[in-house]
């Protein structure tokens, strides 16, 4: 007993205990759910069987039901549009802003910091703000677009099946751009100045310097930012809950929202788990790319 306590206070026992404590927590509240998720995707779980350990096994019925669901194709397309749209536009805006603030004029760092205010806000509040900004009759965005002549009559962003997905996409671009900007700014700051000075002496134009120095030096950062952007976009839920709730008629439903809706609106946890399992595979695949690109960066 004495030696055991001694081991905890000294040497490897103390360290092992510290790390095991956290890993056990994560095992119980993340690892087990991951495995359990796969189990319930083969079961029929509703409000009546919820409280018991053993649920009726239905084999692959949940999977076939999901793939046969008329909403499935719509959700797949929506998820692709939302993810690719968010990641590319956030990245483009973020990179443009990072390059702009990299010019090191007085006040640049301070003003750049203001952009990050959006990013610490709860997603739900951001969603509620955009819900109001994009309101059909009295929304300020419709007013601005009408006064500059881009549209002739109000667009009912949230309630029109053709635009509902884009109302959430616009909000998500606003929400995610500062994160892209700051990570890319960190990457830009790490490029040594003398590379640019040498290129300038050799007569390289600004565009040539960007193409032959900035982009190649930024490659690991860009990889990490794109992967992280994809991961965060696939995590986005609050904006959907606050702006369209997946509607109207499923026109703005993406996979992560559909999974939640099946479980907590239709109380069909088995089918909710099917989408969850499939999407988690996608997310883990993307994060493998992310881990690889951060490794490449630390080796530089």
């Amino acid at each position: 007993m004495g030696r055991w306590v001694q081991g905890l206070r000294d040497g490897i026992g103390f360290d092992t205990m510290l790390v095991l404590f956290a890993l056990l927590y994560l095992f119980f509240f993340a690892g087990l759910p991951l495995i359990y998720n796969i189990v319930i995707s083969f079961q029929s779980v509703d409000v009546f069987s919820l409280g018991s350990l053993v649920h009726p096994v239905v084999g692959i019925d949940n999977y076939t039901a999901i793939f046969a669901d008329p909403l499935a194709q719509r959700v797949l397309i929506n998820t692709l549009i939302f993810t690719i749209g968010s990641v590319t536009i956030q990245f483009t805006f973020g990179f443009a802003l990072a390059l702009f603030f990299h010019q090191r004029f007085p006040g640049a760092t301070w003003i750049r910091g203001l952009f990050l205010a959006a990013w610490v806000m709860p997603g739900l509040v951001v969603g509620v703000l955009w819900n109001w900004l994009l309101s059909g009759d009295f929304g300020v965005i419709n007013h601005v677009l009408e006064s500059v002549g881009l549209i002739d009559e109000p667009v009912f962003w949230r309630s029109d099946v053709d635009t509902s997905l884009y109302s959430v996409l616009i909000a998500n671009i606003w929400y995610g751009t500062p994160f892209n900007m700051i990570l890319l700014a960190v990457g830009l700051a790490a490029i040594p100045d003398d590379l640019y000075e040498a290129a300038e002496l050799d007569g390289a134009t600004a565009f040539q310097r960007f193409w032959t120095i900035t982009l190649p030096m930024m490659r690991p950062t860009i990889g990490a930012v794109l992967a992280l952007g994809t991961i965060f976009t696939l995590q986005q839920f609050d904006l959907f809950a606050a702006i369209t709730q997946g509607g109207p008629a499923g026109s703005s439903t993406v996979a992560q929202y559909w999974s939640w809706e099946l479980s907590f609106r239709e109380f069909d946890f088995g089918r909710g788990a099917v989408i969850s399992v499939l999407m988690i595979v996608v997310v883990l695949f993307v994060s493998l790319i992310y881990v690889r690109s951060t490794k490449a960066e630390t080796q530089l």
């Binding site: 702009f100 006040g107 006064s147």
Partner: protein, 275 residues
């Protein structure tokens, strides 16, 4: 163009970009101070008229804001305490050693950081229902949210511990401190700032959390402010000034903390994402 003039032009463009970007926040505050009729004015009134401060007083009582904010604070505190106590030690060990086991543990933590809450909530909810945790919904939500914030916190704190020179700790061991003594007396105080900022970020995440709370906490007396706000968002809502007053009450403390600690928060978050 001279250097000074070029700088001035850049500064003006920068301010215009920031103003354009932050317009939604401005619109939140302006709307929250308007009357019931002026929120529907056509064209919209971009400057506030007579500020209607009573919007805030009304929403405070009508929407049960104190109760919702209290629940958000309870959840955020619970999440921060669990995440901090369980996570800080692990972050320290992961920063101190470099071998196959540590790499594997670090990889596991990184992978767990990316799991979307809206997907994890299904198995967590079904599992919690079976073991009876749903009878303590707020506590159950805290446990679930902590599993989400833990990897994030471990990565951030690990970066903070990496900056503490190993020699300081070894000196303490030579002076007769135990391993645990060196950790609590030397390493923790030195890494304090990094840990506090990471804990603040975890707190802010807990304060604004929605998915787990909305799925697990059915009793509205225990629900946080994020759910309180969605209760307003029924179809055909009209009282946008009240909703914006709710939103402003909810986010102003977060924005204030951000303004005060901007540099540290930004450093912490970027360290977590890229290292």
């Amino acid at each position: 163009m001279t250097r000074v003039n070029a700088n001035r032009v850049m500064l003006v463009i920068a301010i215009m970009l920031a103003a354009l970007y932050l317009f939604p926040l401005y619109w939140m505050y302006v709307t929250s101070l308007k009357t019931n009729s002026s929120i529907f004015a056509v064209p919209p009134e971009f400057l506030p008229g007579e500020p209607q401060w009573e919007n805030y007083a009304t929403i405070w009582d009508v929407a049960n804001i104190p109760r919702f904010i209290w629940n958000s604070l309870v959840i955020a505190t619970g999440v921060t305490v669990i995440t901090g106590i369980v996570g800080a030690g692990a972050a320290y060990v992961l920063a101190r050693y470099r071998n196959g086991w540590i790499d594997a543990a670090l990889f596991t933590v990184l992978m767990l950081q990316v799991l979307p809450p809206s997907l994890m909530v299904t198995p967590i909810f079904v599992g919690f229902a079976w073991i009876g945790l749903l009878d303590f919904p707020r506590f159950a939500a805290i446990l679930a949210i902590s599993a989400k914030t833990m990897p994030f916190f471990v990565i951030l704190c690990r970066a903070a511990f990496m900056t503490i020179p190993r020699e300081l700790e070894e000196a303490a061991l030579v002076d007769g401190n135990s391993r645990a003594g060196a950790f609590f007396m030397i390493v923790l105080p030195l890494a304090r700032n990094g840990i506090l900022i990471s804990a603040l970020l975890v707190f802010m995440q807990g304060f604004g959390e929605y998915v787990y709370s909305a799925s697990i906490i059915a009793d509205n007396r225990l629900q946080p402010a994020s759910i309180g706000m969605t209760n307003f968002l029924q179809p055909n809502v009209v009282n946008w000034n009240a909703i914006m007053a709710f939103a402003a009450t909810y986010v102003t403390p977060i924005l204030a903390a951000f303004v005060l600690l901007q540099r540290q928060i930004v450093n912490g978050l970027t360290a977590g994402a890229l290292k």
